[in-house]
Symmetry: C2
Subunit: 239 residues, 2 copies
Amino acid sequence: MATSEAATRGVSGTGATSAATATAAARLRVAVPSVADRVADELRLQLAEGILLPGARLTESTIAEDLGVSRNTVREAFAELASERLVVRHPNRGVFVASLEPGDIHDVYTVRRTIEVSAIRGGGSPEAVAAVRAAVEEGKLAAAANDDEGLGTANQHFHGAIVALAGSRRLNTIMSQVLAEMRLFFHKATMDANFYSGYLKDNEEICEALEAGELEKAADLLLAYLDRSEDKQAEVHGE
Amino acid sequence: MATSEAATRGVSGTGATSAATATAAARLRVAVPSVADRVADELRLQLAEGILLPGARLTESTIAEDLGVSRNTVREAFAELASERLVVRHPNRGVFVASLEPGDIHDVYTVRRTIEVSAIRGGGSPEAVAAVRAAVEEGKLAAAANDDEGLGTANQHFHGAIVALAGSRRLNTIMSQVLAEMRLFFHKATMDANFYSGYLKDNEEICEALEAGELEKAADLLLAYLDRSEDKQAEVHGE
DNA sequence: AATTTATCGATTGTTCAACAATCCTTCGAT
DNA sequence: ATCGAAGGATTGTTGAACAATCGATAAATT
């Protein structure tokens, strides 16, 4: 059973919602995530970690039991995940972990090309550019430490920072959702030791061009990168 | 009460789910919208028509009664609308019709510039270009008939067709969500007789450039259009 | 034997009712 | 007038129930 070990932790993290914590949260106007949100978070985590593989069925009752919440709450969490395309609803049949088909892969990269290239063409504020640089350095560090997983997240930070150049809240969330979709496939299993390592130099070059204000060059490099990346993906997964 | 007259129709549209209809649907594998979906549709309609104005509060119980459904179902519909940003959840306070602030308007236009301009730069298939042309003609027709509302929808079809040039399912849904967000403000009240009429010629020009394969020119025209449109919006709605 | 038709079990879709938690407002005290 | 304490209303969450639907198994037909 996929969600087995989650039973012990439950949806905790907030653990016992003591009165003290609750009032403190209210006073500080800190948004306390609802139970449904925490369930969605837990599932998102399991999806990202590859515990739940594409195509797997998510049964309401079992997840409700495993996480110690009501079926209705699980249902709300499902709605959230479905809106992010991480999960697909088959009416009267259940929800399944989304599985990207070849066409979807191309589609995702189309979105990325559109948003990322446009963002980098816009330049962005010095702080935003600094964030891109930071992601590059983060990647170098991870590479030095032979931290494959860290390399992956650094790469995602890099592309997130690129989109952030545009300074648009909506584009940011769109991008993070797209990246979440892709994470369904970038599991440890999928990526071998030097899956990302080749991209390190690309990121560096793109960042340098960006810092130098050579936006068109940066855009071209990024575009080439994305095309190559898509090819690699199409190669690995089906067809 | 905002949802008053909806009480009579309820969430109908499927009306009596007769056995005949149900089995026919099953045989034809036609996806029958769930009750929650129909509730969401009804609310989306009321939002688009300006029956529910930005900032208005949506109380679960009253909507549940008005539409003759359970509170839980209304809740699911809310989740759907919230994921589309048509509605905002204030934890423990309720959901409210989203109201775009000046910053949001700029943000929305940033998304549109990113996606639409990129799409038009890509060119697109002949059929996709034909769809753009069709939207232009639709607008002319509406203008000839003095149909302001038709003019508005034609304009939306035009921009939808532009995005469709990219042939990306995800970009299409993103665009339609953005347009839905904007509809919250383009009510009959907001637009006077010749609000869209000025855009007719713009659309025509853009379409012609597109048909002629002058993609960069088309992109420039579109960009100028969007900038002007944003200014106009910012002018109307507080600074 | 292969295909169709019933039957059954399991799961989803939806409703209802209850309760705790939280917020807003009103009221009262200082 | 400010502050704080009830009170009421609404949301968040649960639990149980039931109809509708699907998939698979078993039976019946050709």
